[in-house]
């Protein structure tokens, strides 16, 4: 239901962005996490996923004027671009792009949704917890480095890490 309610917003935003490219910012913010999650599932690491995500948004902005509203959510169009970018990338690597379509059919949406939701929930953590999560998992720094940066003991950082993960788990369960 919520998706249907969003459609007029999507349409207005798209039409606004087609008239005035500055509005693409809102489309970008709304769809970044899902596009990244879509790409990251089939990429071999964060760097590759980031490169491919950048390519998707560049292509989307470049061809925005060709987009015609036909009722499908904007994310569907972005997924299409992402699939083509992935297919081209896979082709270069000698992999079979057909697997992408199979993957999509085999419930890949659940995982994409979960990852997009997780990215959003990280932003909702308390600042200290968020910092620990970003430093520890995304930047993959050691407990000692994080402790030095935040001026806390290593034990305190480990507890923050535990609390942050528990919070994320609880929030995820409430959302699902």
């Amino acid at each position: 239901m919520k998706a249907l309610e969003r459609e007029p917003d999507d349409r207005m935003l798209i039409e606004a962005a087609q008239r005035e490219h500055s509005h693409f910012a809102e489309l970008y913010e709304q769809n970044f996490d899902r596009v990244y999650a879509f790409v990251a599932r089939r990429a071999s690491g964060r760097e590759e996923a980031q490169d491919l995500t950048a390519e998707v948004f560049h292509q989307a902005l470049a061809s925005l004027e060709t987009f015609k509203w036909q009722g499908a959510p904007f994310i569907a169009w972005l997924y299409g671009i992402a699939a083509n970018v992935l297919a081209k990338h896979w082709h270069k690597l000698g992999r079979d792009p057909e697997q992408l379509a199979e993957d999509w059919e085999q419930g890949g949406t659940d995982e994409i949704e979960r990852r997009a939701m997780l990215a959003e929930l990280v932003e909702s953590l308390l600042p200290d917890q968020r910092t620990v999560i970003v430093r520890r998992f995304i930047e993959q720094r050691s407990i000692r480095e994080v402790a030095q940066e935040l001026g806390r003991t290593e034990g305190a950082i480990k507890q923050l890490q535990l609390r942050a993960l528990e919070n994320l788990r609880d929030k995820m369960e409430r959302r699902i």
Binding site: M1, A3, R6, D9, Q18, R19, E20, H21, S22, H23, F24, A25, E26, E29, Q30, F32, D33, R34, G45, R46, Q50, A54, H58, L61, A62, K68, G71, A72, P73, I75, A76, Y79, G80, A83, A87, P97, E98, L100, A101, W104, T109, E113, R115, A116, L118, A119, I133, R136, F137, I138, Q140, G155, K158, Q159, L162, L165, E166, R169, M172, R175
Partner: protein
């Protein structure tokens, strides 16, 4: 087990997870499963950098762009993230409406069918078949690429940068030596001082690399001027300083540097990357094509292009610094001409910057 023990034990498992090659593994513990998923989230900086890149690159430069505003995305930050949560119905609907648009796939309904795609596809396939039939297709996958932007962290030497100004005097600027180079110009050079007792005296400089030493003397002026008789600030304008050009520099050029070029430094030409100037960054870099001639004889190598990335992020004055021949130089230029860059930045302002780009041509 108390909280600290739990935290220690979890961290031990997290540490093992982070050390594993793909940071994944079949974690059964929900917290570890979350940790594995967190490992592949994008870097927050990447998210904002990409947005800035879209702004600075495409929106400012795309000929079809509806707006020339260079800061719209920044203003849009916040508020929009609430829309990130996608309802499953939305995605499934998208899936049902769309499918994945792969030419090779069974499902191709993501976009409304566009007959032009089929025409292009037919034409390209026909061309490919003709190429194979003619026996000149030497490799199965004639790949091209990877292109890379190499930016040397050197400041402009003579021949790059420049500047000039003047106060519209009737005679050419006096011969002399320019003041010292500095990364920041607070006061432009002047030969005829109009205000001999300023409230806050500041030593005059020209903008350029401080480590470059030019000949110094007691007479500020243009090194190449022929006026050795009459003190003059020169015929130029724009800074009330010294020179026949325009801007707060010295010489016949334009800008805060010295000599006949523009923007800064000494000589003629744009900046080069330095610690105080961020190098341009390619944000849209389509691959070059391979020339038929080179493919036929399996000619490979690197073309080095020297070019200026202008403040709008476009490649200008492209020239071949290292040639590969067989049409590959031209293919490299064609590709790089389409590239878009986040321009070099000096003191927060986009500036033209000289860079070299290596374009790799490889047949796999």
């Amino acid at each position: 087990m108390n909280r600290q023990d739990m935290a220690d034990e979890l961290d031990g498992q997290v540490e093992m997870l982070l050390r594993s090659e793909d940071c994944a593994g079949a974690a059964s513990d929900p917290l570890l499963k979350l940790a594995a998923e967190l490992c592949v989230l994008p870097n927050p900086e990447f998210r904002s950098r990409l947005k800035d890149g879209l702004v600075e690159g495409w929106i400012a430069n795309c000929p079809g762009a509806g707006s020339r505003n260079t800061h719209p995305l920044k203003s849009a930050k916040g508020g929009a993230t609430s829309g990130v949560v996608v309802q499953r119905e939305g995605v499934e609907r998208a899936q049902a409406l769309a499918g994945i648009a792969l030419l090779t796939g069974k499902r191709s309904g993501l976009f409304p069918a566009d007959h032009r795609s089929f025409v292009v596809s037919f034409a390209s396939h026909a061309a490919l078949i003709a190429l194979i039939a003619s026996g000149i297709f030497v490799v199965r996958n004639p790949a091209l690429k990877p292109t890379s932007l190499t930016s040397e962290l050197t400041y402009p030497l003579a021949g790059h940068g420049g500047g000039g100004s003047g106060d519209h005097s009737a005679v050419q600027v006096s011969k002399g030596t320019p003041p010292k180079f500095s990364d920041q110009q607070l006061t432009p050079p002047a030969i005829v001082v109009r205000n001999p007792e300023p409230k806050l005296p500041v030593e005059a400089h020209v903008l350029g690399p401080p480590d470059i030493k030019l000949p110094q003397s007691n007479h500020i002026g243009d090194l190449i001027s022929s006026n050795i008789v009459m003190p003059s600030n020169g015929t130029g304008g724009g800074g009330g300083a010294a020179g026949d050009g325009f801007g707060p520099g010295l010489g016949s050029g334009k800008g805060p540097g010295v000599g006949p070029g523009s923007n800064g430094g000494y000589g003629g030409g744009p900046f080069r990357p330095s610690p105080s100037i961020t190098a341009p960054r390619a944000i849209y870099d389509p691959e070059p094509e391979y020339s038929d001639e080179a493919r036929r004889v399996k000619h490979q190598g690197v073309v080095v292009l020297a070019l200026v990335v202008d403040p709008q992020g476009q490649a200008r004055n492209i020239r071949v610094a290292r040639s590969l021949g067989m049409g590959l130089d031209e293919k490299a230029i064609d590709a790089v001409r389409k590239w878009r860059f986040a321009p070099g930045i000096k003191d927060g302002i986009p500036v033209a910057v000289q860079v070299n780009i290596e374009v790799n041509f490889r047949l796999y």
